[in-house]
């Protein structure tokens, strides 16, 4: 249940999931109102910094949340995210399956039945065996990448090497063409959320030639691939065997979709704002507005209308390593929590339109089980007096000098901008902060290994799906401490009572019941001041002026090309 720093960055930066707040919904500028019955036609252009497939157009190798933006146009999965604006977008809904899965009482066996009339883009019917093959091939070492959960969760997954040498994974059973059963080695109430990943897309064995499959992937969604040049461009055309009658989650309005990759972020936003020629029909699947661009756009009412706002379940925070002095002392950690100026951090992240102050580790969204708390109320500007008092109690009355490690780039809100804002606020409380910048690659290695982990550092966490489990587990579950790297439990918390609560909640298959338990667990852990939550980012993206029904979905904070229209 852990992801590498690079992938987390990808999740936060590229698919930056977001929830539409009040002004979600149509961002159309003039013209007829959006009508899903009459939205078909035209070409949608996607302007991206990076390849929206994550380089390889193979469902086994793609690592996205909720099926991804462009990838979920090609690959349907057992379940998928609910494609609606607002909080309901955090729900998981059936896609190829008839429901989100029937769990056994211990949440270790999950059964799915396929809908009728499902076909690949060559007209052959989609069967349960195709889905089994798709999951199995994700284990093949020749197809690296993808989500990390399968190996950890499925019985026998840890040493399964994929189906190409003739060996099946026995924990996936297909008693008939419409039924597929997954056997897990531990209770996982969140299995339906994981079944949104492209690894749960059907792959016909007859068309699979391993590493070559990405050159001619077989589509199950509304579009098939006409051409794809890795990291350069992608052209999708309609899949004649798909129709809305077999898919209630995709509108698939445009006739054709053309993606252009490798563009500079400023260029993308400039092109979208000027909306000249084809760019009027363009969106971006990975580029948010920068603070300066936002400042410029907010002077222009026409552009302002086309700036769509959303949120992603993400928290940017100060992490402590309590094994490093003086952070072993909870009073010092509390003093830092009291001293931070969240107003300054919000501004460093681009102001109140791009970030909001956070006092809880869980994002402030119902799907995560958000339960408000603020144990160390610092107010917007920090409470230096209270911080000094705590420092004096801890024996640092004459002040304290500490080091704050941070990334040497600002894109992730863990760079110099936020670090200097924290430094300036802590100075008021008599804490002298020395900044220690790391370059991009070195930073992940340093903070994800207990032996090299700094005492205090900036970092961010976003979940692969919107529930409390993937948000809290890797950070606070003691069994997820990894001595050799890839560790996200920075505080190295290993409390049997908390671990037991993780196990208990993972058994719950009803999200509505799990949510309050996750919220309560977060509120309990928060008392220990192991992290100082700073902000929850907000995302704002532009669309071209002809684009309709563009909203940032709550699951990922990204436009859903399956729902937009350019007609």
């Amino acid at each position: 249940m852990r992801r590498s720093a690079a992938l987390l960055t990808t999740a936060a930066l590229l698919t930056a999931a977001a929830a539409c707040s009040s002004d979600h919904g149509s961002s159309s500028s003039g013209g007829a109102a959006f009508d899903p019955k009459n939205c078909q036609g035209g070409t949608l252009y996607v302007l991206n910094q990076s390849d929206s497939t994550g380089h390889h157009l193979d469902p086994a190798r793609i690592y996205t949340s909720g099926g991804g933006s462009v990838t979920s146009l090609i690959f349907r999965t057992l379940t998928t995210r609910h494609r609606v604006p607002g909080e309901a977008g955090d729900q998981v809904v059936p896609d190829l399956a008839t429901d989100t899965g029937k769990a056994s009482a211990d949440a270790k066996t999950w059964t799915y039945h396929l809908k009728d009339g499902l076909k690949f883009d060559d007209g052959t019917p989609i069967t349960a065996k195709d889905i089994k093959w798709g999951v199995e091939r994700a284990f093949a070492p020749e197809l690296p990448g993808g989500i990390p959960y399968l190996r950890d969760w499925l019985v026998g997954g840890e040493d399964y090497k994929g189906p190409y040498k003739g060996k099946e994974l026995d924990s996936i059973q297909t008693p008939d063409d419409k039924t597929i059963i997954f056997k897990l080695r531990k209770p996982e109430g969140d299995f339906p959320y994981v079944a949104t990943a492209t690894q749960f897309a059907p792959v016909p064995k007859a068309k699979d030639d391993g590493t070559g499959y990405e050159k001619h992937p077989v589509a199950s969604g509304p579009y098939k691939v006409q051409s794809h040049e890795q990291d350069k461009n992608l052209v999708l055309v309609r899949n004649p065997y798909w129709s809305r009658s077999v898919d209630d989650q995709r509108l698939a309005c445009p006739d054709r979709i053309e993606g252009t990759y490798g563009l500079n972020a400023a260029v993308i936003n400039q092109r979208l704002s000027s909306s000249a020629g084809k760019d009027a029909n363009a969106i971006t699947a990975d580029t948010d507005l920068s603070p300066a661009e936002l400042a410029r756009i907010s002077n222009d009412p026409n552009l302002k209308k086309r700036a769509v706002k959303g949120e992603f379940g993400e928290t940017d925070y100060i992490a402590f390593n309590p094994k490093v002095k003086p952070f072993d002392d909870i009073r010092v950690r509390e003093a830092v929590a009291y001293a931070v100026s969240r107003q300054s951090v919000v501004n460093a992240a681009g102001g109140s339109s791009l970030a909001k102050a956070a006092t809880t580790f869980l994002p402030d969204q119902a799907a995560f089980g958000y339960q408000p708390y603020d144990y160390f109320p610092a107010g917007p500007g920090g409470d230096a007096a209270k911080a000094k008092e705590l420092l004096a109690q801890a024996g640092h009355a004459s002040g304290l000098t500490v080091t704050l490690a941070h990334r040497n780039a600002d894109y992730n809100h863990d760079g110099p901008a936020v670090a200097t804002a924290v430094q300036a606020a802590l100075k008021q409380a008599g804490i002298n902060v020395t900044l220690k910048p790391y370059d991009d690659a070195a930073y992940g290695d340093a903070i994800q290994k207990p032996s090299t982990e700094p005492g205090m550092f900036l970092t961010t966490w976003g979940a692969d799906w919107p529930t409390g489990g993937p948000f809290l587990g890797p950070i606070f579950d003691g069994r997820q401490i990894l001595k050799d790297g890839g560790n996200f439990n920075a505080s190295q918390l290993n409390d049997p009572k908390i671990n037991a609560e993780f196990d208990a909640i993972n058994k719950i298959t009803d999200p509505a019941q799990a949510r309050p338990r996750w919220g309560a667990l977060d509120a309990e852990i928060g008392k220990q001041a192991l992290t100082v939550p700073l902000i929850h980012p907000i995302y704002i993206r532009l669309t071209g002026k002809n684009v309709k029904n563009a909203y940032l979905d709550q699951w990922r904070g990204s436009y859903d090309p399956a729902m937009v229209s350019v007609k």
């Binding site: 603070p291 661009e293 400042a295 107003q343 919000v346 102001g351 020395t434």
Partner: protein, 318 residues
């Protein structure tokens, strides 16, 4: 830096009048004088920075969120980047730090690094140049190759690499001086070597040597005064070049570390703001431009004054 210049410099009896001539020529050069005035003003401002910032009543590191429009990306409220009686040049977007204080901090770094680097360059350049010129064939060819290496080295790439790996505890301005200096002494050394080679065969040097003066004495008392004029000219041109180097490295994010300020670093973070808050770009941009221009014009004036027969960088004038 030609034979004529050397002739003039070497002619000892002319020296007293020559100083006055140089001064007269320099004072008559209006461009050079304008450069001098600006340069002196800038240096005074940098030296008196703490006083001026105190006068303004601000400091370079305090955040002022109340002066920012947080909903609009943290752009300063008010015209001209929030310039006011309290913040003379406005404030920085997203932080609200005082731009006047940060600009003066940038001036301090700029001068500190430019002059500090100059010392490194002159010490290394003169030392190696003298040794190559006076040290005999083997020394000359070894040191000559070293000079070639220093000049042809891919300085920027190496400087970035070096600045990135040095531990953060090392004082940054000193590090910048060393890095820029270590890659920037080759020109000085080559110039000095050339001058030394032409001076050492001259009669007064031979006379000194024949009358029993040691090598060191010949180098310091006879040769060094002879190379001082071209050295001054060359050094004057190195100052603006060092300023640009510092600004460039800080622009690339490997120079001055936050919360310290540098014009290059300010320009780097200002580039995205040029449409939303033009003042933020103009302050460091104009300061860097004016400062570098002033020092370049002044250096050119010094050169023309020392060597009236050489063509000015500005064309025609002498």
């Amino acid at each position: 830096m030609t034979a004529e210049l050397v002739t003039e410099v070497g002619a000892a009896p002319e020296a007293p009048t020559r100083g006055r001539q140089v001064r007269q020529r320099l004072f008559a050069d209006r461009m050079a004088m304008a450069g001098l005035v600006v340069a002196v003003l800038m240096i005074v401002a940098a030296v008196a920075a703490p006083l001026l910032i105190h006068l303004e009543g601000q400091d370079a590191t305090s955040y002022h969120p109340e002066l920012l429009d947080s909903a609009r990306g943290g752009v300063p409220r008010g015209a001209f980047g929030g310039a006011s009686g309290a913040h003379w040049l406005g404030v920085e977007p997203t932080t609200g730090r005082d731009l006047f204080a940060r600009a003066l901090g940038g001036a301090q770094i700029s001068f500190l690094v430019a002059f500090g680097t100059l010392i490194v360059q002159i010490l290394l350049g003169v030392g190696v140049g003298l040794a190559a010129g006076l040290g005999g064939k083997v020394a000359d060819s070894v040191l000559g190759r070293l000079i070639d290496l220093a000049i042809s080295f891919p300085q920027l790439i190496f400087a970035i690499a070096l600045l990135a790996i040095v531990p953060s505890g090392f004082p940054r301005p000193l590090l910048l001086m060393l890095v820029i200096g270590l890659f920037g002494w080759g020109g000085t050394a080559r110039l000095i070597r050339g001058q030394v080679l032409s001076l050492k065969t001259r009669d007064y040097v031979s006379a000194a040597r024949l009358s029993g003066a040691s090598r060191a004495r010949v180098a310091v008392r006879e040769i060094l005064p002879g190379v001082s004029a071209p050295l001054v000219t060359y050094a004057a041109l190195l100052i603006p070049s060092n300023m640009i180097s510092e600004a460039g490295l800080s622009f690339l994010g490997v120079g001055v570390r936050p919360p310290g300020s540098s014009w290059g670093q300010m320009l780097s973070s200002a580039t995205t703001w040029f449409q939303a808050d033009p003042t933020y770009v103009l302050v460091p941009g104009l300061l860097l431009l004016v400062n570098v221009l002033a020092f370049t014009v002044l250096a050119d004036g010094v050169r023309t004054a020392l060597d009236p027969k050489a063509r000015s960088l500005r064309g025609g004038r002498r």
